[in-house]
Symmetry: C2
Subunit: 140 residues, 2 copies
């Protein structure tokens, strides 16, 4: 069954500023040695940051703009020795809607910018949403 051809438009709320400039340099996960980065929130959305504090754990949702959207199966972790798996069973950036989920800590808050880490997304990655990690472990 098709989802009725619903089309959804996202408007980025900000962008990642990072020392990682190329996908080839990026760790696959933040916990694999990623640096801190700046999340610059666009002026239209800056009011939405109210209440975020240094030390908060947040989930940043990004648009992995270099992901290939026509890919449905991949070798996990780009390892050709691992058998092909559906993209929904992997964290590959290649998937129909290449959204990235990044669990990070807020290191610094400066007007409409957050310094966050560890963050594996590359410089220029659009940011779609920011959510607090819930204390409830079911939702971490």
């Amino acid at each position: 069954m098709e989802a009725k051809g619903t089309e959804i438009r996202l408007r980025p709320i900000g962008v990642i500023r990072s020392t990682i400039k190329e996908r080839s340099e990026a760790p696959k996960q933040g916990s694999e040695g990623a640096p801190d980065a700046w999340l610059e929130v666009s002026s239209f959305a800056a009011e939405g940051l109210d209440g975020l504090r240094v030390g908060d754990e947040i989930i940043v949702i990004t648009w992995l703009h270099q992901g290939r959207r026509d890919t449905l199966q991949v070798h996990p972790r780009s390892d050709p020795r691992r058998r092909l798996a559906g993209v929904f069973a992997t964290r590959s950036p290649d998937r129909p809607n290449p959204l990235g989920l990044h669990r990070v800590t807020v290191r610094e808050v400066s007007e409409n910018q957050l310094r966050i880490g560890p963050m594996e997304a590359i410089d220029g990655t659009p940011v779609i949403d920011i959510k607090p990690v819930l204390a409830d472990v079911q939702d971490s």
Copy 2:
């Protein structure tokens, strides 16, 4: 700074089929008494499910199609006694890009459908992506 007016179009990969029909009936979080639901994956994306198994913990990303996109501040948990907070410091469905994150367990796999739970999203909610929960606790 604005994110250069980037516009992103999502194509839902599936839809939630639930006994919860109205937003007013839905628990705020899955852990607050939500039922199981079916996630029907569209035929174009079904190949992406390969490798998902009963018992897997997954994160389902939905489009909260009833969210108000012009809201930047809310009273947390709709409680007027709580002071206004920026939407990025809350899990409110009202936000510029109303994506929902749902951590659920796969209960059953049947062709292009997954029975998942607990799931608080209402019937008809578009599904945007499915990702495995990583064993690494940093990224759960």
